[in-house]
């Protein structure tokens, strides 16, 4: 699945965005200013001097005026690890256009935002319990390589998100901003995955990618439904009543994900596969979203 490169206008738009982190990510120096004070040149606040503070941080001008010792604190410059985990199981290949195309398009945009923000970006495909990860990238120049990585994968195999995630964490144990792009059609317990990640200190954003045909069943008479991943089939009569009941089941499924997100503190957004990348990005911008506008 070749991924078409973004246009200059898209890139300019993505440059105006920044990742909205809600947790601190200790590690090596970086350009991302975390919520903790550190050694960057970005002033944070004045604080009363305490024994042990570095005397170089004392503001002597302020001492001359107030005869009290204050030290300057600076925002800590952080390395933010952005992990983009894309579900590449066979279910992501349905329908046309594929949900996988929406997922990798969105992942590419997020990767660019991360690279422009000076973060370490690592993309990976999860399928069949395996993890196929790209090398970490921290410069904008690495974006074409990431694009190529994201665009060369087709949807196939079973969805075993938990096993795939464990593989990914084995590659890099540091805390990260984990973005999971998946249709979450996992026969296991997919809602436990983000909860576990949150407990481990990761910031987790689940982007639930669904197509129109996943959300509603159209009246079609006698139909043999075939599972894309398992090949299992089921005979049903798609009439109005069945369609209503299916819509109810889907609604309940989404509601359970929303409640799980609130309960465990991870971000959750439903992404429509039919929308464009920019429309989906816009959906992620906000105070409680994954992205924020600069300035």
């Amino acid at each position: 699945m070749a991924l078409s490169p973004p246009t200059a206008r898209q890139l300019a738009h993505w440059r105006q965005l920044t990742l909205n982190t809600t947790r601190s990510f200790p590690g090596g120096s970086g350009r991302r200013l975390g919520p903790k004070t550190g050694s960057s040149i970005e002033f944070a606040e004045f604080r009363a001097y305490a024994p042990g503070d570095d005397l170089r941080q004392v503001d002597w001008n302020l001492f001359a005026r107030s005869e009290k010792l204050f030290v300057r604190t600076f925002l800590e410059e952080q390395h933010v690890k952005l992990a983009l985990l894309v579900d590449a199981s066979a279910s992501m290949g349905e329908p046309r256009p594929e949900k996988l195309r929406t997922a990798v398009g969105l992942a590419a945009a997020l990767a660019y935002v991360g690279l422009v923000g000076g973060h370490v970006v690592r993309a990976a495909f999860l399928r069949d319990g395996e993890c196929e990860a790209a090398p970490p990238a921290s410069r904008e120049a690495a974006f074409p390589g990431l694009l190529e990585f994201l665009g060369r994968r087709n949807a196939s195999g079973a969805t075993r998100l938990l096993a795939g995630l464990e593989r990914f964490l084995a590659l890099d144990a540091g805390r990260a901003l984990v973005v999971l792009l998946s249709d979450l059609l996992d026969p296991g317990a997919p809602r436990a995955i983000p909860a576990t990640l949150v407990e481990q200190g990761h910031q987790v954003q689940v982007l639930h990618i669904l197509a129109g045909s996943d959300l509603r069943a159209e009246d079609g008479g006698a139909v043999v439904l075939v599972d894309r991943e398992t090949g299992e089939s089921r005979e049903v009569i798609l009439d109005v009543a069945t369609a209503e009941e299916y819509a109810g089941a889907v609604g309940a499924h989404l509601e359970e994900w929303r409640r799980a997100a609130l309960r465990h503190g991870f971000g959750y957004r439903v992404i429509h596969a039919g929308a464009t990348v920019d429309e989906n990005l816009l959906h992620l911008v906000g105070s409680d979203g994954l992205l924020a506008r600069k300035g």
């Binding site: 992501m92 006698a222 005979e235 049903v236 109005v240």
Partner: protein, 584 residues
Amino acid sequence: MAHPWMLLALLLLPAYWWMRRLEARPRRRVVSSLLLWTGVPARREAPVQEWERRTTLVLWLELAALAGAILAIAGPRLPGSAAARTRVVYLDRSASLLTREADGRTRGDRLRAALLAWISARPATERFRILTGAGEDGGEMDAAAARDFVSAHGPLARGESLVEGVAAAWTVARAAGGDPPVVATDRAPEKGEAAHWISRGAPSANAGIVGCVAERRGEALDLLATVRNASAGARRVAVSAAGVTVDLRLAAGAEERAVLTLAWKDAAAAGPCLAVRLEPGDELPADDLAWLAFPAPPPTVWRLGPDNPALDRALAAVFGGVRRAEAIPADATGLFVFDRTAPERLPAGPAIVIAAPRDVSGWCTIRPGPRPAGARTVRDPASPLLRHAHLEWARVDRLLEAVFPPGAAHVLVECEGVPLVAWTGPEGAPALWIGFDVAWTGAGGSSDWAQLPGFPIFFANLAREWGLGLAGTAAPACVSPGTPVRLPPGATVRAGAGPSLPAARVWRAPEAGCWRVASPGGVQTVAASLLSRAETDNGGADVERLPTEPEGGRGERREAWRGLAALALLALCGARVVESRRSK
């Protein structure tokens, strides 16, 4: 089965069944995962077998609707319940059925023989109700009684209205169950006639005398009979009058004149009417057309104008003779006829002015004068003088105002909005305005219309109505202008003693198809009926359009059609209901 070949369409049913079965098979649809379908309650997971069962029910209903429609179009006939059926028969007994044909039998004989044969071929359980044109209604009867009834009711020497008789038969037939009546007559059915029909002798109505005028030459009389052959083939026609017969051989559509020169007998003994007998022959049946005109002793009729033999002959036929004059004689009395000539002065007596349109502006020099005190306007449509007059009176009034000032003259005949005949009478004399239907004969116009059939009669009626006792004799009697008269066989309009009937006047009798003849001996009614020239040719063949057994009649077939159509509709509705329930 009206259209058995439509049954071939039933072969489409298996193809339709196979096509619908293919369509009803469940389709394969790939979904991302069946996980979300676990939320659908199990009761909605209907097996495909249930779907197929429902589809099969719909399919069978559709097939039933299709088959019902095909069978309905094929028009099946159900076996008739002959025991419950009553056939209504109308038996024509009019005088024309007395006509003898080539084999010596009358039309009535042939017609009744055919009708009896048909009755004998009907099922023994069938009943009949026979009506006649004479008003008889034999009531319901079995076949034997029906045969007796037909045998006992032969033609009568009088006319009947076939149209009214058929209408009455239809009324009775509808009340008896709806089967069309059987009409037995000697006339061909009209186009679109739905009744069953049996006819004998109809072709003979296609030739006849369309005009007959008499011209006296001293003691002799020339009788001009115009005969038209309206049939599709050549026809030999014999025209007889007073024992003199002229044979004519007429091509199809031809019209010729037969001139019969008769010896003029004692005028006083013969009276004003000439004995004219139209004999029914093998090829000229009695119900042919005749224009009758009866000459009278010479009156004083002056005609002024250029030569016009046709007009002279017409005037002579009516008034017995005519005098030509270049100008109005000084002391002349009588009737003055100006033919395309402007009168230099108003004559003392009544006058008729005939003008062609091109001459109107030239001769219209009649001086305006007061309207005659006794002038009266005849506009009563019932007036015999206005019969067949299709004039627009409003237009005539305008013309009178424009061309003829009130009282100066009165239009008698006009054509294309131009007055052709104007009447001016002496002051105080009665005057009439009469419109007359005139055929236009040429772009420049002429007075040829004066020799058209009916024109002499118009003059005759005119003179009689005015009471023009010319030359001291009574005005000749004749039929109404423009009215063809069909004489029954043996009907004789004859003057003098003996079996002949001195017809002083003929007029329409209240009875349908009858004419009344007045003579010195009293008034008698003869059977006749009008015959339109547009009457269709029967083609020379007898008509035999009778219901047959055991297929049954039209009414029964329609009933079967309706039943099948209703079945098809019901099946279609059933299919719709099942489908709508399935989709809910």
